[in-house]
């Protein structure tokens, strides 16, 4: 029997959900609003919410002072590159864990995930030195590699969960049909896992896009992505809230738009395997 939900209850639930949603969204909304204020209005006490003189001045200044397009392009390359590279490595790894598991497979998966528990700063020094040695400092390729490695455990784990949902008999059938391992992965497994692979791509692209620790520490001028672009507007000597907000809005806008249009995929990706 379906549970009876009264109208009152629905109203309360909806209001509650909206409340939580607005609470989470408020800082972003505030940032966007601030980006349209003058520096003086931005620090006004009491704060002004909607009724101020809207201005695009901050965006002009930010655009004049730094080359937004270059940061954006670096972000696209670094986030995209690390995600695609990660997927290419993770598909065979997840295949073997899902379809030919050994007694240690679960341990390996947990161990991989455990690397995410290590504070990143713990390995900053050795990685920094390696980067100097290999000439990777402030290069896009260097960041692609680091971010790929950072996110690889999550990519493998997600793909493993999706692959587990694919009946092994179908892969066995392809083997009986004469498919090599490459054919099996390329023509049977991957097309069947497309929804899962898409959500994995998306989530990891967002994670890599937002990653700030490594991108700030391993870049200077050439390879700096949008995270560095934001950071350059927060300086200890004088805070320009309005300009910082304009820079932040410009940095998060592409990923916000991407996220908006792919909500369905993302939600499915995050809850996949949880319910069946």
């Amino acid at each position: 029997m379906a549970r009876a939900v009264t109208t009152n209850r629905k109203v309360i639930n909806t209001a509650f959900a909206w409340g939580i949603g607005l609470l989470i969204f408020f800082p972003i909304l505030w940032t966007i609003l601030t980006s349209f204020k003058t520096e003086a209005t931005a620090i006004a006490d009491p704060p002004v919410f909607l009724f101020f003189d809207w201005t695009l001045e901050n965006y002009q200044v930010v655009q004049e002072r730094s080359n937004y397009a270059r940061f954006l392009w670096n972000s696209v390359i670094i986030a995209g590159g690390s995600t695609v590279l990660g997927i290419i490595i993770a598909i065979p790894a997840a295949w073997s864990m899902a379809f030919v598991p050994s007694r240690r497979t679960k341990d390996i998966l947990l161990w991989m995930l455990s690397t995410k528990m290590l504070p990143a700063v713990g390995v900053l020094y050795p990685i920094y030195l390696i980067f100097i040695e290999l000439g990777l400092l402030d290069t896009r390729i260097g960041l692609v590699i680091v971010l790929m490695l950072i996110n690889l455990p999550i990519i493998v784990w997600m793909l493993y969960t999706y692959f587990r949902e694919i009946p092994g008999e179908i892969l066995e059938a392809s083997r009986m049909d004469g498919a090599s391992l490459r054919d099996e992965i390329l023509y049977v497994l991957t097309p069947m896992a497309v929804p899962g692979i898409a959500s994995t791509l998306l989530l990891n692209f967002i994670l890599a896009w937002n990653e700030a620790f490594w991108t700030l520490n391993l870049t200077a001028a050439k390879a700096a992505p949008l995270t560095a672009f934001i950071a350059s507007y927060s300086s200890p000597e004088g805070l320009f809230y309005a300009k910082l907000s304009a820079a932040s809005t410009m940095a998060i806008a592409p990923i916000l738009i991407l996220g908006w249009f792919s909500q369905k995929q993302l939600v499915r990706g995050l809850t996949f395997g949880a319910v069946k």
Partner: protein
């Protein structure tokens, strides 16, 4: 083409030996059925032959060539799975063509063979559909189509009909038998359904706990089961097993009489009993008889409509030449 030979083949999963050393030869063009209760190792045995599982020791040869370490793709065997295992993202046409595409046949040849297989299996109208848009029987036909296009050395069927409803199952059973007659290719068929085994097989292999209990033609197994297990497994309804004094009269530990070899008489018989449940099928009538004093229940099959009802007291006469005798090991006595 299509002789498969297993020599001292074993399979263990960890410390558990599921197939103890086993020898078996499957002749060219033969329709062999592996039958046994669930967990008897029949599917594992099929997967070993397919190469989907590695054997722990022993040797498998296909057409005289050692196939023990040959990957499944190279064994020239085609398999039909219980779940059909169709590629859900491909049309029926692409599903059937997949083995040909893997074998890198040219497109014209692929199209020709797919059309042929589709017309044999009545799938021509469905070639552009996805498997999800087909009924169970049609999916099964696609799976068979995918197997026949590549003209394999042998076909392996893993309980292919168990997901179909009863009426469809009978129809598909006939289709597979006809396919075998037409192609004359070796077929190995795994089932737990002894009716499928009896009706389709040239040769039945009865398995229990990884052991081969008996190999023979359906009627050999029916007429001369080697032990109590085979006697009970082959034949429907099951053979009646009688222990004790009644068996001792025939100087055996246990005697077995098939339900169809006991005649029902109104009045005195060799044994007397009370009708418990009477199942009237029209063509046959099954009686479950209680209170005989020789076994808890005896099943009797009478031909046609026999009008005894629940609670009737009747006499039973076993046919003397149809009494199977078994010793204390459960083995058949001559």
């Amino acid at each position: 083409m299509g002789q498969i030979k297993l020599e001292k083949v074993t399979k263990s999963f960890g410390d558990v030996e599921v197939i103890p050393p086993l020898d078996l030869t499957i002749g060219e063009g033969e329709f062999t059925v592996f039958v046994g209760p669930s967990g008897c190792g029949k599917s594992t045995l099929l997967r070993l032959i397919a190469g989907l599982e590695d054997i722990s020791s022993g040797q498998i040869t296909i057409d005289g060539q050692d196939a023990t370490n040959v990957p499944p793709a190279k064994r020239r065997l085609a398999m039909v799975f219980q779940s059909y295992a169709l590629y859900p993202h491909m049309s029926v046409r692409k599903n059937i063509a997949f083995p040909l595409r893997m074998a890198k046949l040219d497109q014209a040849e692929q199209d020709k063979r797919v059309e042929q297989a589709a017309s044999v299996l009545n799938l021509t109208d469905y070639l552009d559909r996805r498997p999800g848009q087909l009924s169970g029987g049609q999916r099964q036909r696609v799976a068979i189509g995918r197997a026949i296009v590549r003209e394999p050395a042998a076909f392996l069927f893993d309980e292919p009909l168990s997901n179909l409803d009863a009426a469809l199952r009978v129809g598909m059973r006939l289709e597979i038998s006809e396919l075998h007659k037409r192609l004359a290719t070796t077929m190995i068929y795994v089932t737990h359904d002894q009716v499928e085994a009896m009706t389709m097989a040239d040769k039945i292999v009865v398995l229990r706990a990884g052991h081969i209990e008996q190999v023979g033609s359906p009627l050999e197994l029916y007429r001369t089961p080697r032990n109590l297990f085979v006697a009970g497994f082959i034949g429907s309804p099951k053979m009646n097993h009688i222990d004790g004094a009644e068996a001792a009269k025939h100087s055996a530990k246990t005697i077995g009489v098939r339900p169809e070899h006991i005649d029902v008489v109104d009045g005195e018989g060799v044994w007397q009993g009370t009708v418990g449940v009477a199942e009237h099928l029209g063509s046959d009538t099954f009686f479950h008889i209680h209170g005989t004093g020789i076994a808890e229940t005896l099943t009797v099959r009478a031909t046609g409509e026999v009008d005894f009802r629940h609670g009737d007291r009747i006499g039973l006469v076993p046919r003397a030449d149809q009494i199977h005798r078994f010793d204390d090991q459960g083995l058949r006595m001559p």
